[in-house]
């Protein structure tokens, strides 16, 4: 599906979605509450088939977080970027590990390093850091006098 077609299809599916302009791939900005339903739709919707989640990451914007999902379809070869804005005080977003299995590890990584809580995740524990670790290393306000070297 072409970029414009995809945009039309997605705005039909979710009228509240905002599109971000100027990016390489169509990028939509959504609310965490609609994510699970939308994820199910774009995973198996006719003509969409976004079956491959190739990148999941979180960004700390100091005032809020965004969780970024890069999705592509191995059938139609189109790509979509989904961004979810999260509150800094309560960074919670529903898991998609039941829809894309790869999300299970990627979500654990985002939890471990950025402190994003993926609700209903089957096994949300630290992945790289030790269980006793305090703080979220990839956050911009993270300070560690022992382990951090300022360049």
């Amino acid at each position: 599906m072409q970029k414009d077609e995809l945009k039309i299809k997605l705005s039909e599916l979710l009228p509240s979605a905002a599109f971000e302009e100027g990016a390489e791939w169509p990028t939509i900005l959504i609310d965490p509450r609609v994510w699970t339903d939308l994820a199910r739709h774009i995973r198996s919707g006719i003509g969409l088939d976004f079956d491959y989640l190739f990148c999941l990451t979180a960004v700390d914007w100091k005032t809020h977080f965004t969780v970024v999902y890069h999705l592509t379809s191995t059938v139609h070869r189109h790509t979509l970027v989904v961004k979810i804005r999260l509150d800094r005080e309560r960074p919670e977003v529903p898991t998609v590990s039941d829809i894309w299995r790869t999300a299970e590890f990627h979500e654990r990584e985002a939890y471990d390093l950025m402190g994003i809580v993926f609700t209903e995740h089957p096994d949300l524990r630290r992945l790289f850091m030790t269980d006793e670790w305090i703080g979220w290393p990839l956050r911009k306000d993270y300070e560690d006098p022992v382990n951090m070297i300022k360049l």
Binding site: A23, E24, V68, R101, L113, F128
Partner: protein, 371 residues
């Protein structure tokens, strides 16, 4: 750990494989739950070599951060550098001169060959055949020598820079590579005779560690791991970069989905890489090897994503720029991390000895997983 014991059922045994186990090829720690010898669950514990490269890159300039990426997947260091250089070039709209592009592809394919050679030796060693390891290292040494002559390094190359490659190829490069192709063509047939057709090896590999194409996609598997299940995912074909659309090669796919299929994919990929190198080695265009760029690179505000095909699969670089000289946030999508997540699914129900074979065909490089 004591709490964990409470969750095991009667007759179950929890075995720690690694982090210092020869078959994990690095500091990978697997907690394996067994029933007798049958695997019930595999849980990777990561982080033993986590250096937080993503955080480090936030304070490094767009020229500096590329050097750190050689230390992730050290067997595909050229290709990692390549992905980063592509991403910076995308942001700054730098056009790489034709000579630079061809040299890049040549280096990528030589890296892929070297990586697959090491995998082949290590894979055979994992299932109990020690000799192939020495064969593979002998051939890999020839590539390392070629690399050393041009890049000055044997493992962490740091050769690709935004705009092209750092220095021109060594005057002997073409001749050396041609010699290597002649030499290695005979060797790869030897590889097949020695291991591929071996009955014991085949019986260890066939029907072990099956993953269906749907699951492979769902788990985010890429590279030979997914292509062994018949998933077309070669970025050199799907979204060609540099001169991959101008060379003739096939995307190797097998439909078995088991260890042997993944093995066959890599063996044939070596032949495809040789063919790409053969096509390009006499056709390196003249001219500049590097575009003229400013000393200090500044990416415009925005987001840039580049994807390249490493020896293990899809490597992605996601740069978020605020317009400064350093990235605001950088994310590396490493192929090994997603491939590893499928290990549990592949290994369940098999014997513990097969786990080593399955891990071997995933071709895991731990610094790439941990970053």
């Amino acid at each position: 750990m004591i709490e964990d014991l409470g969750t095991t059922e009667q007759g179950e045994l929890v075995v720690n494989l690694g982090p210092q186990h020869p078959s994990t090829h690095g500091v990978l720690h697997l907690v394996v739950t067994l029933n007798g010898e049958t695997i019930k669950k595999v849980e990777p514990h990561l982080g033993y070599i986590h250096r937080s490269i993503e955080k480090m890159c936030e304070s490094l300039s767009y020229r500096q951060f590329i050097y750190v990426t050689s230390r992730m997947d050290y067997l595909s260091s050229h290709i990692n550098n390549h992905g980063c250089a592509l991403c910076v070039e995308k942001g700054m709209q730098i056009e790489v001169p034709p000579r630079g592009r061809v040299i890049r592809v040549l280096m990528d394919e030589l890296t892929r060959l070297a990586s697959h050679q090491l995998w082949w030796g290590a894979m055979a060693m994992d299932v109990g055949a020690l000799t192939p390891f020495f064969h593979a290292f002998r051939e890999r040494e020839a590539i390392n020598d070629i690399m050393e002559q041009t890049c000055g390094a044997r493992l962490t190359m740091n050769y690709m820079v935004p705009g092209g490659v750092m220095v021109d190829i060594h005057p002997d490069f073409q001749q050396k590579v041609k010699e290597f192709i002649r030499f290695f063509k005979g060797k790869i047939d030897e590889y097949d005779e020695l291991v591929t057709e071996n009955v014991i090896f085949k019986s260890r590999m066939e029907g072990v560690g099956y993953i269906s194409p749907e699951d492979a996609v769902s788990f985010g598997c890429t590279g030979p791991t997914a292509r062994g299940s018949g998933v077309s995912c070669d970025l050199r074909k799907i979204s060609p970069y540099e001169v991959y659309d101008q060379v003739q090669f096939e995307e190797v796919m097998e439909n078995g989905g088991d260890c042997f299929a993944r093995y066959l994919v890599r063996m044939q990929e070596m032949r495809q890489s040789l063919s790409i190198i053969e096509q390009l080695i006499d056709n390196i265009p003249g001219g500049e090897f590097q575009a003229k760029t400013k000393a200090v690179l500044k990416l415009p505000k925005g987001e840039f994503y580049s994807r390249v095909e490493t020896a293990r699969g899809e490597f992605g670089v996601y740069i978020i720029s605020e317009g400064g000289t350093t990235p605001y946030r950088i994310k590396f999508r490493s192929p090994g991390f997603s491939n590893l997540s499928a290990l549990d699914h592949m290994a369940r129900g098999h014997k513990i000895g097969d786990l080593v074979a399955i891990m071997g065909t995933l071709d895991l490089v731990i610094p790439d997983i941990d970053r």
